[in-house]
């Protein structure tokens, strides 16, 4: 009973933090503050996942999101107007419609979660839930998906190679024999 009360209190707190800081992203003037307000919001979501006993998922959400936000802060500040937050700035575009879409979506989803008549559980969960969910979703398509994974990775690498302004011919000369390589910044390995 007490643990139920604690869990509920924690959930309400984390949910308020998640929504509150998510909202703050659009209220603060500084890109740094906006980015890290979003990071706090995601960390709170990670905390909610921990409450659901999804330990791995919860902690990984924290890892991924904080990393991502730290890097995103660099780009936000590099590319957005008003980087330092020295001048007031609004992150809204098309304010009223954006707001109504956002709040409307939240109300529909949250209302749906509360109002839907969820079915009672029949039977008991299998021993290894994760494995069963994996099999349920992927089943016999696993081999195909593994193949597609390799193809996607190859595509990413090829796209990067094609998009890169400098090729190995720029680094190593037309006959690929220039040593050391002509890099704008020398690397630490000495290639």
């Amino acid at each position: 009973m007490t643990s139920d009360v604690v869990t509920t209190t924690l959930f309400v707190l984390l949910a308020l933090v998640a929504v509150g800081f998510g909202f703050l992203v659009f209220r603060v003037d500084s890109m740094a503050r906006a980015t890290f307000a979003l990071a706090v919001s995601f960390v709170a979501v990670g905390g909610i996942l921990l409450l659901l006993d999804l330990d791995y998922l919860g902690v990984v959400v924290v890892v991924m999101m904080v990393m991502e936000m730290a890097i995103m802060a660099v780009f936000m500040i590099a590319y957005m107007m008003n980087p330092a937050g020295l001048m007031p700035m609004s992150m809204y575009h098309d304010k009223s419609r954006a707001m109504s879409v956002a709040v409307g979506t939240f109300v529909v989803l949250a209302g749906g979660a509360l109002l839907v008549d969820w079915p009672e559980r029949q039977g008991s969960p299998p021993a290894d839930v994760t494995e069963q969910v994996g099999l349920g979703i992927m089943g016999s398509h696993m081999l195909v998906m593994m193949g597609i994974g390799a193809v996607i990775l190859t595509t990413i690498v090829s796209a990067l190679v094609l998009a890169s302004a400098r090729s190995r011919y720029d680094r190593l000369g037309d006959d690929l024999k220039a040593r050391p390589a002509r890099d704008p910044i020398r690397g630490g390995v000495g290639r």
């Binding site: 740094a32 890290f36 330990d55 902690v59 890892v63 904080v66 660099v74 690397g187 630490g188």
Partner: protein, 307 residues
């Protein structure tokens, strides 16, 4: 041991070991300079007192909220890392994914250190913050793979299971690369030794440049606390936790932690500072493949020894 006493005990140990690292570092520094060691020189207390009473300097337009958040964050992250380190049989946070938790706490440092650099609204501090992120991009993946190896060997992300898996043989025997890379990464996330470029003297102190008074104390203490937390986590991961003859578990664990900590302190001033942009290539071209190889070897050992 009572679970209730465990958290204060861990914090006391953290503070005590951090002080040990400060004193050891000063002793080494004095010896290297060929000076005689006086107790006053070794003691951190005069500096602590000075920083506590020093009036805060500030800059023209700092973002005080972010600055202070980042400054306090280092110590908080170090303390939270310790929450998953088993002491004897007990652990503060009985998390089945302790290894990932440690990883999450070190990722929080990306944010905290950058915020310290940003909040000061000073060019040198900001460059320090960016240097830390550049360095982080190079060490984080090796750190993740170095953490993966013991987890693969134990088939668990629970730190206590990892300790139990080392009953026959310490992990450091079969994964020396992962151990070395882990120590390297501990130094890197603590702005320690060769990875002190974000707080480098060429930047007038980098991320620490504008911090003064109690803020500076928190940052410097946080750096030592992070090294302690890293050393404390290396023991259950690679050095068999509290295993050892004659002495009780917790004594062995403390001794091993102390040994790893002193190793990190000795290496601190023996290695030159790495330039972040050069280390990026070392990290990606050299260390990532090495750690991947380590995980492969570990997996093969697991397969070979499977019943």
């Amino acid at each position: 041991m009572s679970e209730l006493l465990l958290a204060p005990l861990a914090l006391l140990l953290l503070a005590g070991l951090a002080l040990v690292s400060v004193v050891a570092d000063r002793a080494l520094l004095a010896r290297a300079a060929g000076r005689r060691l006086s107790p006053a020189e070794l003691s951190p207390w005069p500096d602590v007192a000075r920083l506590l009473v020093q009036r805060r300097r500030t800059t023209t337009a700092p973002d005080a909220l972010l600055w202070r958040t980042g400054g306090a964050g280092l110590l908080v992250a170090a303390a939270l890392m310790l929450a998953v380190v088993p002491i004897g049989d007990s652990v503060i946070a009985d998390l089945p994914v302790g290894i990932v938790w440690f990883n999450a706490m070190d990722v929080l440092l990306w944010a905290f250190v950058w915020l310290v650099g940003w909040g000061a609204a000073s060019a040198t501090a900001l460059v320090g913050g960016y240097r830390y992120l550049a360095q982080a991009l190079a060490y984080e993946l090796p750190l993740m793979f170095a953490l993966t190896a013991p987890a693969v060997a134990a088939a668990s992300l629970d730190v206590r299971e990892v300790v139990a898996a080392q009953a026959d043989r310490w992990h450091v025997v079969e994964m020396p690369i992962a151990f070395a890379v882990f120590l390297l990464c501990v130094a890197a996330f603590s702005l320690w030794g060769p990875f002190r470029a974000p707080a480098g003297s060429d930047l007038a102190g980098g991320v620490f440049a504008e911090s003064s008074g109690v803020d500076r104390l928190l940052l410097l203490a946080g750096r030592h606390a992070l090294v302690v937390a890293g050393a404390a986590f290396a023991v259950p991961l690679f050095l068999g936790g509290g295993a050892g003859p004659l002495l009780p578990d917790w004594t062995w664990q403390l001794l091993k932690t102390l040994a790893v900590l002193l190793l990190l302190v000795v290496l601190r001033r023996r290695l030159p500072v790495l330039r972040p942009e050069r280390f990026a290539e070392v990290g990606w071209v050299l260390i990532v493949p090495l750690t991947l190889l380590q995980v492969l070897v570990t997996s093969l050992i697991v397969l070979a020894e499977a019943p």
